[in-house]
């Protein structure tokens, strides 16, 4: 399945916003630590990504992610 970076970015931002941070704070360079997004939130983000794009992100994948951009780039690369 081919998805664009913009599509993934929109979905990731929507999902992260549902965990609490203001949507305006969720930029590519924002770190999950700054946004107060914790490991449980990332597990749920991975579930959304799997449901929507068929991309399976494992625990070790998620541990490497520091910024919103890291997550978007990984998802796009795997979905491509």
């Amino acid at each position: 399945m081919s998805v664009t970076t913009e599509q993934v970015e929109t979905r990731v931002v929507e999902t992260l916003a549902s965990f609490g941070p203001d949507q305006s704070q969720i930029t590519r360079d924002a770190t999950f630590e700054e946004l107060d997004i914790d490991s449980l939130d990332l597990v749920e983000l991975a579930q959304v990504v799997e449901d929507e794009y068929g991309v399976v992100l494992k625990g070790e994948d998620m541990k490497e992610l520091k910024t919103v951009g890291d997550a978007i780039d990984l998802i796009v690369a795997r979905a491509g």
């Binding site: 449980l40 597990v43 749920e44 579930q47 959304v48």
Partner: protein
């Protein structure tokens, strides 16, 4: 028939008889559509389903040995497809015993009990939690045992599994608490079921209530823990044992 506490269904493992069957009936009475899991007792499971339906509830019998690693996906898919909603209440009730004193307990008996009574519960919880997180609601109740809290000679494998189940319950509970998901355990004592049918009744003298409990008395506690009213109870172990562990 009561309204279910969430837009989801319930899955009870090992529900063709005994405590599991009582739990399935109780949850159905609270409005939950219930998946009645069984391993070998198809007729008994279908009888539980028929009883629930006769009382105005909804239920389906679903076959699967929880000790099989592929069972969780199959069970969840079968129940979710039948009712058209996610499993938002999971009761890990399926369990076996294979008793012997520790010096002579075989690897096979150890492994079989740990696999069914502990490992399977973990795999089912793992499968259940992600949809519950998305739904911001979930109820998991693990059926442990007084033996997980208090020694009983001849049951080292069963005790280790049931104590492990309590630790698993508490850990998962704190991990997912802020998603509206509760994870609790009940710890039944001596309950009149097929599992206790061959055990000497002399042990009843140790029970402060001086009688065995009934599957219904355990089911009533599970029913509460699965209800909307129990929303602030998580990581708890509710003893249902006539005072045996007190």
């Amino acid at each position: 028939m009561a309204e279910p506490p969430a837009q989801g269904c319930a899955l009870v493992t090992g529900a063709s008889r005994g405590i599991g069957a009582a739990i399935a009936r109780a949850l159905a009475g609270d409005g939950w559509p219930v998946g009645v899991n069984y391993r070998a007792g198809r007729e008994a499971a279908e009888a539980v389903v028929a009883e629930i339906e006769a009382a105005g509830g909804r239920a389906v019998a679903v076959e699967g040995d929880v000790a099989d690693h592929s069972t969780p996906d199959g069970l969840f898919q079968a129940v979710e497809a039948h009712f058209g909603c996610p499993v938002l209440a999971l009761v890990n009730n399926a369990g076996i015993t294979d008793d012997d004193l520790t010096p002579t307990l075989t690897d096979q008996a150890w492994d079989a009990v740990i696999e069914t009574d502990l490992n399977a519960a973990f795999r089912l919880m793992r499968r259940a939690l992600k949809p519950m997180m998305r739904a911001r609601f979930g109820r998991i109740v693990n059926v442990s045992s007084v033996v997980g809290l208090r020694a009983n000679p001849g049951q080292a494998n069963y005790a280790a599994a049931k104590a492990g189940l309590i630790a698993l319950t508490r850990t998962a509970a704190v991990e997912v608490a802020r998603r509206g998901i509760t994870v609790n355990a009940v710890a039944p004592g001596w309950i009149d079921t097929d599992m206790t049918a061959g055990v000497s009744t002399e042990l009843l003298s140790q029970v402060p209530a001086r009688r065995a409990g009934t599957p219904h008395e355990v089911a009533a506690c599970v029913r509460f823990l699965a209800s909307a009213e129990a929303s602030y109870v998580t990581g708890a172990v509710l003893s249902v044992d006539g005072g045996l562990a007190a």
